[in-house]
Amino acid sequence: MVAASCMLTGRISQVPRCGMVENKNDGEADSGRSSGKWAVPTGRRTDEWSECLVLIGKSNDRAAFTRFFRHFAPLIKAFALAGSSLSAAHADELVQEVMLKVWQKASGFNPEKAAASTWIYTIARNCRTDMFRRLQKFDTPLAADDLNIELEGEEPFTVLHTRRGSDRIKDLMGQLPPDQAQILAKVYMEGKSHSEAAAELDLPLGTVKSRVRLAIQKLQVQMDRQ
């Protein structure tokens, strides 16, 4: 149980109990299903790495895992070292953690929902966050995975939409102007907040934000105009 007393005064005053409130909102919380094994979709674009993940998930295929490792481990290591955030030893440790998670979680991978690279990016991002926090002795009851809301049981439209988006984003990524690509790298690969990126690049926060927005727009990520 987490501390529920007032952190400012350290005092716990009256304790009016909250009667259990009725659960509204029944659209959510359907987490029981889907330990799914997924077949490689036919007649739809899929890639070698998604197939590897499906094989790993379905039949604990070590050969597929080894292929997957040889391709992604060097990228995860580059991700770990981006912005010289971790030492080489910690980077190797991160590669290990991420790859073990790949093995453990592959059965939950659905090639129709996400590209293999997106799936492993999310794992790597979360592992790196948790590792940073461990190294900084930052104590939190929340693991980065807790903050990950999976696209679970979405409508087919959403799934298709996500999948197409993924192909398109990859194609468009190469066409970004360097200044926008640089900011995206800071944000995504180095895990910098917008204001940290602004400080490091000696740019006004507004410039960073607008470059990120422009880049996201160019990648045709669908966002609401605000």
């Binding site: 987490v2 290591k77 807790d146 979405e154 910098k192």
Partner: protein
Amino acid sequence: MTKHHPSNDFLMEHAAGSLPVAQAACVSAHLSYCERCRRTDGQLQTVGGAMLERLDPVSVSESLLDTVLARLEDPAPLAYAGQTEVSALPGLLQRLTNKDFSQLVWKRVTRALSISYLSTGDTSHEFALLRIAAGGRIPEHTHGGNEMTLVLEGGFSDGRDSYHPGDFIYRSSEDTHAPVALDGEDCICLTVLDAPLKFTGWQHRWLNPFLKLRAS
């Protein structure tokens, strides 16, 4: 159906994993209510995947592969317990609150308002649940900092609009508002406030004799 969403900037920082944990928790909780933002989040993560693939690979020793292969059959760490019962509460809040609101310690601020502080370990943000009695009014106030609010139960109105479970509201320190809980049901919100020191001041203002509470 949620009507009020986090800004694109917040969604982007969330997908890149760079939001402080308290804010990330609030945005995540919104995602668990909101399919639209989940879809955006999915696409923003795809950007991360595409960037990952474009990094210059850094060679990894063969022995690391061997180490990993040797550990594949290690038992996986136990998944977090809990969430066995269906609940309307986002999973992460169930973890923080030990399943539901009934076991929390609520600190009473006024007749209409109670607060329960939760710990996320994030020392730069206050993370708390507010409980406003049905129909209760919070006197007009400003914040010492910027505040994220997510409605979890019930609802409130602030003169501009009304807010219901899943709605996400962000107010900067300059905003003044006087929220009133909707009738019929207590309103429970998650709030994440930066600048906790100023929050003390904000909290102490409740003792200000000029503030009159008009709870119905």
